[in-house]
């Protein structure tokens, strides 16, 4: 305060004068890593070259997201390295991809993993492997630094994302009632991570209605509570509460103990995990390999990628499941696999915006914004002095039908989305345009599986999980919930099945 005061006294009010001199900064940027063009080749069943080369290899993993990388990690860890992982894009990682500029590394999608509970045994094993968990202790510098989250509401900042200011007694009562309900669900032991371990038909009814209907049944009509529940669904599922299965809504709040430690995170988000996995399995990965056909034979399966036919004994299909009907012969069309479209943007900031009364936080959310706010990549820096940073801005296009929103993603140009993003940020950070020098935007038409009503207990999904044969599915799509732990679980499980059958 005194510093500012002195400056003021000394300089008259140069700062005020500045207000009148500022012009808008030029903001660069573009769309990045678009997967539309290649994906649409598949949809159009374009003619692909016939296999010119044949490679015989026992195991082929299709897809280099967390599921595929985890399958590879398990294979290598068990001493098996006779496999290839084929990744369509030039950079593996899927929803755990990252980017890097002269300031910092930053995430392109998933940016944290909650501290895993005892049931997430594979995740714990991985984290011990990566030095995140040492002698039962979580490495401090990988836990999200405090202050972690802040919410902007009614022109003010609060710590934490669950609204705590401006609550009426009715709001408070409903929050408390829900918390008690979630505690009971938690104690039932049926809502687990990974999902498969606890899944019980006892709660199948919940999957038959939407989360918003369920909330209504519980007498929850508080506006703030509904905002928060919708925020949770948009954040984890890319969907509104009315498009989310009540089972999944309950799972979000009941699957983990109320965790004080805060999640595990890194400047590049889950990209850090991808990097560590690549250090371990990178030698088996082939990037820019567009798989265009997979055929099952009696003794194995053939994977056609670019001009090569990989003749394998087993194929782990770790690409998004919606691609299966385009790649696998005689694969029935899917009905219970809905995907949420997303947009993420990385904003390069040459300085932080002025924000009085706000502590610099890891995750920032605005009440009533259609977007999910942003995460500050430099928050996890060990430096005490930070000038420039990168913000990762998240936007699940949840309002309306996914197909229409995918169309919107395709049709609107970069400038349109840039303006939409700045417009959202400007409501709170009025000087944001003076801070940002670059905005890169990633469009993801099928960003994540959506736990729509009826999808968790869907017969289609169950069949896919139990599938026996030469092609095994491994993906968080199998759980119906797109989180790191699910992808990793199914990846590891598939690898173990393959190892068992190869050696058995």
């Amino acid at each position: 305060m005194k510093l500012a005061r002195r400056k003021f006294l000394g300089l008259g009010s140069a700062a005020l004068a500045g207000l009148f001199l500022k012009g808008d900064k030029r903001i660069e940027g573009s769309f990045v890593n678009d997967s539309f063009p290649r994906g649409h080749l598949l949809r159009g069943r374009a003619g692909f070259p016939a296999g010119k080369r044949v490679e015989k290899i026992p195991v082929v993993i299709v897809g280099g997201g967390i599921a595929g990388l985890s399958a590879a990690w398990r294979l290598r860890k068990r001493g098996f390295s006779d496999f290839v992982l084929l990744e369509m894009s030039s950079q593996p990682g899927g929803n755990a991809r990252w980017g890097q500029n002269e300031i910092t590394a930053y995430p392109w999608a998933a940016h944290y993993v909650p501290v895993p509970g005892p049931q997430a045994a594979y995740v714990r094993e991985l984290f011990e492997d990566l030095g995140v968990l040492k002698n039962g202790q979580w490495e401090e510098r990988y836990l999200a630094f405090s202050p972690q989250e802040r919410l902007f509401l009614y022109g003010r900042w609060q710590e934490g994302l669950e609204p705590v200011i401006g609550l009426t007694p009715k709001d408070r009562d409903q929050f408390e009632r829900l918390e008690n309900l979630f505690r009971e669900f938690r104690q039932s032991g049926s809502f687990t991570v990974p999902v498969e371990l606890g899944l019980s038909s006892k709660f199948q009814d919940l999957d038959g209605i939407s989360f918003s209907d369920w909330l209504r049944q519980q007498g929850c009509d508080s506006r703030l509570l509904n905002w928060y529940m919708n925020y949770a669904c948009r954040d984890d599922y890319g969907a509104l509460a009315r498009d989310t299965s009540a089972w999944a809504g309950v799972h979000y709040f009941s699957s983990r103990p109320p965790e004080e430690k805060g999640p595990l995170t890194w400047p590049e988000g889950n990209g850090w995990i991808t990097r560590r996995l690549l250090e371990r399995v990178g030698g088996n990965i082939r990037t820019s390999q567009m798989v265009h056909r997979i055929t099952e034979t009696r003794r194995g399966a053939s994977v056609f990628a670019e001009e090569t036919e990989f003749q394998a004994q087993f194929v782990i299909f770790a690409a998004p499941t919606f691609l299966a009907p385009y790649l696998l012969e005689d694969f029935p069309p899917l009905h219970d696999f809905v995907y949420s479209p997303w947009l993420t943007a990385n904003l390069t900031l040459d300085r932080y915006p002025e924000s009085r009364g706000a502590e610099p936080s890891w995750d920032t959310v605005f009440l009533d914004s259609p977007t999910l706010g942003y995460v500050d990549a430099m928050h996890q820096s060990l430096r005490t002095h930070v000038d420039r940073t990168v913000w990762t801005f998240y936007w699940a296009l949840a309002e309306g039908a996914p197909a229409e929103n995918r169309q919107l993603l395709l049709e609107k140009n970069w400038a349109y989305w840039k303006e939409a993003i700045l417009h959202d940020l400007e409501r709170v950070h009025t000087d944001i345009r003076q801070c940002v020098s670059r905005i890169d935007i990633l469009r993801m038409g099928h960003a994540m599986i959506r736990p729509a009503v009826g999808s968790i207990f869907s017969e289609e999904r169950r069949r896919l999980r139990r599938r026996n044969g030469r092609i095994l599915f491994a993906n968080s799509d199998l759980s119906g919930i797109s989180i790191f732990e699910e992808a990793q679980y199914h990846g590891v499980e598939a690898a173990q099945k393959v190892l068992g059958r190869l050696h058995g």
Binding site: L3, A17, S146, P147, T384
Partner: protein
């Protein structure tokens, strides 16, 4: 004649608005919370104008004389309002009282102006024309002032001189009115003389405004400022009163030359003298070279590495004669290596081992500094500690921030170190605390460098005794993901100041 009267209205309206804007801007800058300040000041001002208008009905006769006096008074009060408020903020406790009193007085006077003017010219025009013209020019004046204020006045003149300029205009209107309404005036010569006196006073004020600002600024830092600089990282101010030099970083006192020897002797000697044959020493923070000065008293020490974030800080303490006199040119010693880097990443990226490590950072007043007081940081630092080595941490006051002090001690403990907390009295700081830590038992040294002024072999054991009012408290360790220390520290000092 007509247009001249209405130009007076325009100028008078502009003056009224400028005073209001000056008060609002100053208050929101000095006190903060601009929405609150502007709302209450505008409200008070308008309310006072209402009182002025109401009072105008009690003024009978001699309207023109009264009007000229009101203009003069407003010129003086409004003109000097900005300077007065700055000085009030710097020198008194009652800034708000003076602010609102001033706003009330100015509001009442401004409220009187227009009703009086209307009555003065009502015989010359039809009533409806008087209303229309006077109000038109009143609002025009307000528009002009509200545009001029941010675009020209504040950036070009600053607040003090802007107010004075409009004081001059008020007084000018007064003088002008003595010609304009000469037929309605009595004792015209006396009035004109008064106008000239006020004009001179404000003119002088305009010329001296710089001095007023400087005086106010000097008083915010009680002593003479001999050096002030905004470096890339912090605001650095050096003050002097007689032979006392004081360094402030971001307005927090870092040392006073009168008693800093107590602080720096206590920081260095209890630990360093207990290390057998220390050769390599690391200082994190401490770009003032004062701890280095103490360490240089050990002839066995071959190398001292100083890691300080701010190159400006180490540069000034290597070159300014007053400061190098204080630190005995310690930073220029060939045994000293200055590295300007952020401490945590530096510690992480370096593999050297040290026999003694001094951690001398500013108090944990924010989350950035809080990172340098965590188990993660102390673990990283302790990897650089040689087998016989110790590290010492400046740990704020165990008296004023008792929770914080014991939180730092607990943090070091949970980082796997054995801790030995101690405290000293430094007059300019009060009771101050340090935590000595290492991987083995600590025995107070039996010999110390010669010529110490404070720390002595006999006095050492007493430093490790904590009286009941500073005794240990059970506190959690500070971690990157909890940052309990920053919150604790804030509460500790809040408790003191209330």
């Amino acid at each position: 004649m007509g247009i001249l009267v209405f130009i007076s209205v325009l100028l008078v309206a502009a003056c009224g608005l400028i005073y209001e804007l000056v008060a609002g801007t100053l208050a929101s800058y000095l006190v903060g919370d601009s929405v609150f300040q502007f709302s209450t000041i505008i409200g008070t001002y308008l309310f006072a104008m209402g009182i002025g208008s109401a009072l105008s009905r009690y003024i009978h006769g001699g309207l023109a004389n009264r009007f000229v006096w009101i203009e003069l008074l407003l010129g003086v009060i409004g003109g000097f309002s900005s300077a007065l408020l700055m000085l009030a903020f710097a020198f008194t406790q009652g800034f708000e009282l003076i602010l609102y009193a001033l706003v009330m007085v100015m509001g009442v006077l401004v409220g009187l102006e227009i009703p009086l003017l209307m009555r003065m010219v009502r015989d010359r025009y039809e009533f409806r024309d008087v209303i229309a013209h006077v109000l038109t020019f009143d609002y025009l004046g307000a528009l002009g002032a509200s545009l001029l204020f941010p675009i020209l006045l504040v950036p070009r003149l600053g607040l003090v001189r802007s107010a004075m300029l409009f004081g001059l205009i008020n007084a000018g209107v007064a003088l002008w009115s003595t010609f304009l309404f000469v037929d309605q005036l009595s004792a015209t010569r006396g009035l004109r003389l008064a106008c000239l006196v006020v004009l001179c006073a404000l003119g002088t004020g305009m010329a001296e405004a710089q001095q007023i600002t400087a005086t106010a600024e000097d008083n915010i830092y009680a002593d003479e400022i001999i050096f002030a600089r905004d470096t890339h990282y912090q605001h650095l101010v050096l003050t002097r009163f007689k032979d006392d030099l004081r360094l402030f970083l971001n307005s927090h006192l870092q040392f006073s030359s009168r008693d800093e020897y107590r602080y720096h002797e206590a920081l260095v000697h209890p630990g360093l003298a207990a290390v057998p044959a220390p050769r390599r020493v690391l200082i994190l923070g401490g770009g003032d070279g004062l701890a280095v000065r103490e360490i240089l008293k050990y002839p066995l020490v071959e190398s001292i590495t100083v890691v300080d974030l701010d190159p400006e800080m180490t540069r000034i303490f290597s070159s300014n004669p007053m400061l190098t006199k204080l630190n005995d040119k310690s930073l220029l010693s060939p045994r000293v290596h200055v590295i300007n880097a952020d401490a945590f990443p530096w510690v992480d990226g370096n593999a050297d081992s040290f026999d003694f490590i001094v951690i001398d950072f500013p108090d944990p007043t924010n989350y950035s500094l809080g990172k340098l007081y965590t188990t993660a940081f102390y673990r990283a630092v302790s990897r650089h500690l040689s087998a016989q080595g110790f590290l010492v941490v400046q740990s704020t006051s165990p008296m004023f921030a008792r929770d914080s002090f014991w939180c730092i001690a607990e943090t070091l403990k949970q980082a796997g170190l054995e801790t030995h907390p101690y405290h000293v009295y430094v007059p300019s700081f009060g009771e101050w605390g340090f935590v000595l830590a290492g991987r083995h038992e600590y025995k107070p040294p039996t010999s110390l460098p010669a010529s110490l002024r404070f720390v002595s072999v006999d006095g050492l054991p007493a430093l490790f005794q904590f009286p009941p009012d500073m005794a240990p408290l059970p506190m959690p360790a500070n971690q990157l993901n909890s940052q309990v220390l920053v919150r604790t520290y804030e509460n500790d000092w809040k408790d003191i100041s209330h």
